[in-house]
């Protein structure tokens, strides 16, 4: 090979030996020569042999592998091959044997192949079976996934619902807690108030018992002193003893009418008045109404009232202002009611008032008091929107009539048994059944009712709209309206139910004749008389001859009905506005009460 290159190299070099001196081009020449020779060298020595050697190496590897397989059987014979022919024969035999063995092996292997093929088929079958199962399982899985999705969706919905419920529950719980707290607070409040009420009750009881003790002591003291006044006392029985005689005379005169003249009218020096009384009585005897009324009221009426002249007793009856005063039909019992929420009963004896019992139960001030005709019960109206009924022997109210929505200004026993009438600032008049302790009828009025009185089958009410209304008590409808000069503060009806007295804020007392429905009116005024409040109460004397009213300046004014003139006035005892006046049915006493806790008992002697 090199021999081939050399001639070329020689030939080229012969033309180029002088080149280095020739110039720059020769630089390229020698380099090109080197590249050419290198390529030539590689072609001859490398490329030509590359594949050949690779193939040879592969062949070598293959043969060596084959040799490796056969070497085990061939090694020994080859080592013995140099020996004789017999050994060759032996070798031949051995080879035949091995051939047989190999053939047997081939058969065996073929059998094995068959078995393997069977196994393969089986496996194929199993594989296809497995694939079928797989597809089945895949479908089932997909189904399950769908179900999972569904269930998840449902779960989410449920969860949302649950969350909402949870939230609501928490809200409800917080509300419950708040309510509990509020309940607890209310309970505490209530307990507190109850304690307070109990404490005040205790206080009151204590006070009352102390007062009773003091009273007892005072009584004891008076009893101790009574020895000295024994002579003066003896005169009273004598006067009393005379009255029965007259009673008997009267009984015969009055056709068996039961009359009880417990007043001292018989002994009264005013003969004129007694004659008038007799006349008056006859007149009443003609009316059926009076007959019924007389049956209802066993209490006596006096023949003539005596005009009081001086104060018998002045006492501080209540702890606060006194609003109402009333004599019982038997005239020996006086009831006063005040802003201090209690009613006090006083016995009228020997020209003095002695405290008998205190009735409590009202939670506000008392506005009006009425005794029932039998004198065993007392009715009062109260600022606490209720009316209360006591039995005289019990200081705890027997009944509390509730239903009015504002203060109750008036409460009266009706002419019918077991019925009472109340008037209220809520512009209603209510009829109550005492058996049922319930309101049976309600009359709506246009105006504030300040006072009312009851007559046969009718109720008369006074109002702030300057009107006096007459109601039929059976239908509770307004049958008549009478005008007044001002706000009506009180009403009173004469014992014969023929005359109605109204007191108005225009400082005028008005006496209306009811009998003929003539609205025959008489006005009574006086210099200095001034109506002190919206509930100032004026009265007609039991014989109907006089009118009594208290003024704002603390003076009691008494007018004569027949003359229409002021009969007398009783000053100097009250220091503040007189709120009510009462005249005993016996005609003997007048009691006035004022806003500054004073009660004054007036009489003619």
């Amino acid at each position: 090979m090199a021999a081939v290159t050399n001639p070329a190299g020689v030939t080229e070099r012969s033309g180029r030996v002088s080149a280095p001196r020739g110039g720059g081009r020769s630089m390229e020449t020698w380099k090109r020569e080197i590249v050419r020779q290198l390529n030539h060298r590689d072609r001859n020595q490398h490329v030509m042999y590359q594949d050949l050697i690779r193939f040879y190496t592969q062949l070598l590897e293959k043969t060596s592998l084959a040799k490796g397989i056969l070497s085990c059987s061939k090694r020994r014979p080859s080592s013995d091959s140099s020996s004789s022919l017999s050994s060759l024969l032996h070798q031949n035999n051995q080879l035949k044997k091995t051939t047989g063995e190999l053939a047997y092996q081939v058969v065996e292997l073929q059998q094995q192949i068959k078995i393997k093929e069977c196994v393969l088929e089986e496996q194929h079958a199993r594989l296809s079976e497995g694939e079928r199962q797989w597809t089945g399982a895949f479908d089932a899985r997909q189904e399950l996934q769908e179900r999972v999705e569904q269930v998840r969706g449902q779960n989410e919905a449920l969860k949302a619902e649950y969350d909402a419920l949870l939230e609501r529950q928490s809200q409800a719980e917080t509300k419950l807690r708040e309510e509990k707290v509020r309940g607890g607070r209310l309970l505490e409040d209530m307990i507190h108030r109850k304690q307070h009420a109990a404490a005040s009750m205790n206080n009151r009881n204590e006070r009352r018992s102390r007062a009773r003790e003091a009273h007892l002591q005072r009584e004891l003291q008076t009893a101790a002193k009574s020895k000295v006044t024994i002579d003066s006392c003896s005169s009273t029985p004598t006067t009393r003893s005379t009255s029965p005689k007259i009673e008997k005379q009267n009984e015969s005169n009055e056709r068996g009418h039961a009359r009880l003249f417990r007043s001292a009218s018989a002994t009264s020096p005013k003969i004129l008045s007694s004659i008038r009384e007799l006349f008056h009585r006859k007149r009443r005897g003609h009316s059926v109404c009076s007959l019924v009324e007389d049956l209802n009221s066993p209490a006596a009426l006096c023949l003539s009232a005596r005009v009081p002249a001086r104060a018998r007793q002045v006492l501080e009856a209540h702890e606060q202002g006194i609003n109402a005063v009333r004599f019982s039909s038997s005239s020996d019992l006086l009831a006063t009611g005040g802003t201090d929420r209690v009613i006090k009963l006083w016995e009228v004896r020997a020209g003095g008032l002695t405290h008998r019992v205190t009735l409590d139960g009202s939670t506000e001030g008392i506005t009006c008091i009425d005794f029932d005709p039998g004198g065993s019960r007392i009715l009062a109206s109260s600022y606490d929107k209720s009316a209360l009924l006591w039995r005289l022997d019990d200081s705890v109210p027997k009944l509390t009539l509730t239903g009015h929505s504002r203060k109750v200004t008036a409460a009266r026993f009706s002419t019918l048994p077991h019925q009472v009438v109340t008037g209220s600032a809520d512009r209603t008049i209510r009829l109550w059944d005492l058996h049922r302790a319930a309101c049976v009828q309600v009359a709506d009025v246009a105006s504030f009712c300040s006072d009312l009185v009851c007559s046969e089958n009718c109720i008369i009410s006074g109002h702030y709209d300057c009107k006096i209304r007459v109601w039929d008590s059976r239908t509770v409808s307004c049958v008549q309206e009478l005008p007044a000069q001002g706000k009506v503060t009180s009403l009173d009806i004469s014992s014969d139910h023929r005359q109605l007295l109204s007191c108005c804020r225009d400082d005028c007392l008005q006496l209306v004749e009811l009998r003929w429905q003539s609205n025959d009116r008489m006005c009574f005024r006086a210099d200095g008389f001034k109506c002190g409040s919206d509930s100032t109460k004026a009265v007609i004397s039991p014989d109907g001859c006089f009118l009594a009213a208290g003024s704002a300046d603390g003076v009691v004014y008494i007018w004569n009905v027949s003359t229409g003139n002021l009969e007398t006035c009783l000053p100097d005892k009250h220091s503040s506005s007189i709120s009510a006046v009462a005249w005993s049915l016996s005609g003997e006493y007048v009691v006035s009460v004022d806003k500054s806790r004073l009660a004054v008992l007036w009489s003619d002697i």
Partner: protein
């Protein structure tokens, strides 16, 4: 420049087809097949003949095996010369493939160095590089290199990785433009006719008058007999990497491009075959 890179590539990938045959005297269990191999010119015999060794071990008993060595036509081949040099020096004008006889006995201690492992080859290789750099740059470049750079040079050769080797070897081939070349050209001239193993002297790439020295200048200085005589009779061939570069080829360029990986320019001067 592209040509220069191609030259480097061709030099690196130069191969010699070789047939290894086991020495007749070796005791074998069976007949040993010859083994053919393309040997890289730039590598070392003992570095690339593991397969040969394995091949022949198959047919030999382990107790008969000693250190392997190679012989070509009675000449033990020195493993510490690059393969290309051995071929060019001893067998350049013979029929290919190169037929080498493999021995496992009677190691010629007088002629050959022992090669128990690749680390010996590495040490030899690295010492050659350092010697060459000492000539070229007063050892500055090689001393600036780190251990891993040295390793990269060796691994490039061992695993036949051209790019890996030249990435580092490039630095060894650099020189300042004002010098115009290396300090001295690291070269070795081998002669079959001489008793000396090779000629190695100091020789600058640039002459005193500033012109570049050529291959011819080198030979004129070292071995004038190698040059053709007056009559144009060419008695010797100057072979590098199996080729005969023109004598006017600049020595500096040759050193840069036709040097072996050990950075030496190995030049073989062999008698022209007479047919």
């Amino acid at each position: 420049m592209a040509d220069d890179k191609d030259v480097l590539r061709d030099v690196w990938f130069g191969r010699i087809p070789t047939c290894f045959t086991l020495n007749q005297d070796e005791v074998t269990e069976r007949e040993a097949e010859p083994y053919y191999l393309l040997l890289p010119r730039v590598s070392y015999l003992t570095l690339v003949t593991d397969k040969v060794k394995k091949h022949f071990h198959k047919v030999m008993r382990a107790e008969d095996v000693e250190e392997m060595w190679f012989e070509y036509e009675g000449t033990p081949l020195k493993w510490h010369y690059p393969i290309g040099v051995l071929f060019d020096l001893h067998a350049s004008n013979t029929v290919l493939p190169w037929s080498i006889i493999v021995h496992f006995k009677n190691f010629p201690d007088r002629d050959l160095l022992h090669c128990p492992s690749n680390s010996v080859i590495e040490a030899h290789f690295m010492s050659s590089i350092k010697e060459a750099d000492a000539l070229k740059h007063k050892s500055q470049v090689v001393n600036d290199m780190q251990k891993k750079d040295h390793k990269q040079l060796w691994m490039g050769l061992q695993n036949d990785k051209f790019d890996q080797f030249w990435a580092m070897n490039r630095k060894l081939m650099e020189y300042s433009t004002e010098d115009g070349g290396f300090r001295y050209i690291p070269f070795r001239i081998y002669q079959t006719t001489s008793d000396r193993p090779f000629i190695q002297k100091l020789f600058r790439p640039v002459s005193a008058d500033g012109s570049m020295h050529t291959l011819g200048d080198l030979l004129k200085e070292m071995d004038p007999t190698a040059l053709p005589n007056e009559g144009g009779q060419k008695r010797y061939q100057v072979v590098i990497h199996g080729i005969e570069p023109l004598l006017e080829t600049p020595l500096q360029w040759l050193s840069e491009h036709l040097s072996h990986p050990d950075n030496f320019l190995h030049i073989c001067i062999i008698p022209t075959p007479t047919d």
